[in-house]
Amino acid sequence: MFTYNKDTFLNINKIIFSSLDIREVYQTMSNELSKIIDFDRLTITLITEDNNLYEAFVVQSKTREDTYIKEGDLYPMKDSLMEKVVQSRKPVIVDDTAKSQFATDVFLFKEGIRSRLGFPLVYKGCIMKHQKLFHIDEKKYPIEFKERIIGSINFGSRQKQHYSKKHVDFVSKIAPQLAMAIENTRLFNRIKDAEEKYRNVVESSPDIIFECTSDGKFFLINPSVEKILGYSVHYFYDAGGSILSLCHTDDQGQVLREILQLLHGEKDSLMDFEFRVVHKKGNIVWLSLEAIPIKQDNKIIGIEGFCRDITDRKKLDELKNSLIRDVTHELKTPVAKMEMAIDMYRRSFAIESESAGEKELHLYNLLQNNVSRLKNIIRNVLDISRLESGVERLNISDFTFVELVDQVIHELNPIAIQKGNTITHQIPATIILKADREKMYYLLVNLVGNAIKFTSHGRIEISFMITPYGFEVSVKDTGKGLNEEAIKHAFDKFYKETPSIPGSGIGLAISKNIVELHNGCIWAESGGKGKGAKFTFRLPTCHLMKQST
């Protein structure tokens, strides 16, 4: 039987596109279809990506319930009707399954199907070369238009020689739409899967994951926030709660500054930014924030990122630091006594007089040098643990920067000259800093001292620059330079490129702390081994006085 009816045809098209999932309307579609084409079995089969298998996407059989081909299962392409359809991209008719060469027909014959029609489903549309769930940049991911065979729609009939050209003609009218609907279904499912995966990741993450607008309104925050801070997500969504208002009062200023820098595009990202938040129950929670700005049409409209609860780590850190501090402190007394004993030894044996033996003098110098090295390490460790503990406050005063630089150069010049180095600077005499002078002195002594240590017969240059983000002071040398690894770890405590390098390996860690106390940042650059190094710190302009006249 074949009755062509235009209304039925239009209706089928309407049904095909009435749902995002073709399987939901498949029954209705096949009912309509059966008004035109007689069939006892209708399947849609789809090729898998590797072309070796096909998936029985939907199966509807009027002859058997436990049909051989089952919905959702995969079957080999080899020797199937589908293989022929896919290869030829043309409809294939089997007049009698009893005499057919296709492997599947043996089973279908047993199920009572005597003739078949397989029709290719060709998808004509755009295919994205790289499929990314969000933010598709069309320049990076070109969209291609092409035809692709995705599978076939297959009819089966109890009668022999049931299908003919008129069936083929009709199916060719609905097949393209069907192909498109199937592709849509698949895309829809992929998005649904990806969305579910994404949601699962967000919901089950132990970290707080958030997205908020530039005025601090959350449009995403996951349930971890309740575990970590005690406030439910509704507090942030509905009650307009902000993380900033929960911040520890001492940290609010810094948090606000960092976030504003992100929103104003002064920083591309925040990494490992640590601050304290007060839990609903009143206890302090340490968070580490990583965040990036959300952009729309090149405009920053908010920020997204995550906060990790690092309270336990901080407690351990504090424990470790106080242990280091206490042990180091305990070392002070014996080292002081050793130094006094060495002094007593010097006087008792008149080491510096001409009568003293060469060996005694050598031993005395050896003891003296090592004790003073030990003393240095102890002082540095105590300095940094004091800086890290946060008890250290800045003692801000106004001072002429060039005077400080001259003082540093004056102090270090003798060692520099010994190594054949020259130190120069281009600091304008008008620059007045509003900072902790003693700490700035330490910082410069450290940077210039390091430059001298790693340079011989070269130049060391101190320079000053005002940038949109603050002012920068650089110490550049023509010395040994740093490799990438060393640049990465230069400011780590106790980091030394090779253990034989003299010093405690703590000076740059202290320098970093000093810069951070002034709300600045410090970094190292180098062209590589043998190509010199440049250390730069940048402080916000609030540490810069108006230039004196």
Partner: protein
């Protein structure tokens, strides 16, 4: 000859003092802890007292505060010797006639400090 009292609980430190003050024109008495030092001072008026700070039972800073309340010791110069940072004890400056000697120190540093007062 001027009388010096050194309150120091560390025998090795006492040895350093002995070595450094050998041949100097002072009569030196040693007390091995705060309590003993207090007892010494009750029996005799010394011209200068050197105090260690971290000691058991009575610490040097506590002893110093007690001295300044005592009418005999109100004006007696005191040198506080310790491996603690000088600035930790800056607040005592207000109580007068006191100086701080950071350990380790040399003979010269000790003598200079003593000569400031005697």
């Amino acid at each position: 000859m001027k009388d010096l009292l050194i309150v120091e609980d560390d025998p090795e430190m006492q040895e350093f003092y002995r070595d450094m003050l050998k041949g100097e024109q002072f009569s030196v008495t040693y007390a091995s802890d705060g309590e003993e030092g207090l007892k010494e001072m009750k029996g005799k008026k010394y011209d200068l007292v050197i105090l260690d700070i971290l000691m058991e039972n009575i610490t040097g800073d506590r002893l110093f505060a007690l001295l300044r309340k005592d009418k005999h010791y109100k004006e007696v110069p005191v040198i506080m010797a310790s491996s603690l940072d000088k600035q930790t004890y800056q607040c005592f400056q207000a109580l007068g006639k006191v100086s701080f000697l950071e350990k380790p120190f040399t003979k010269e540093m000790l003598i200079t400090e003593i000569n400031k007062y005697l």
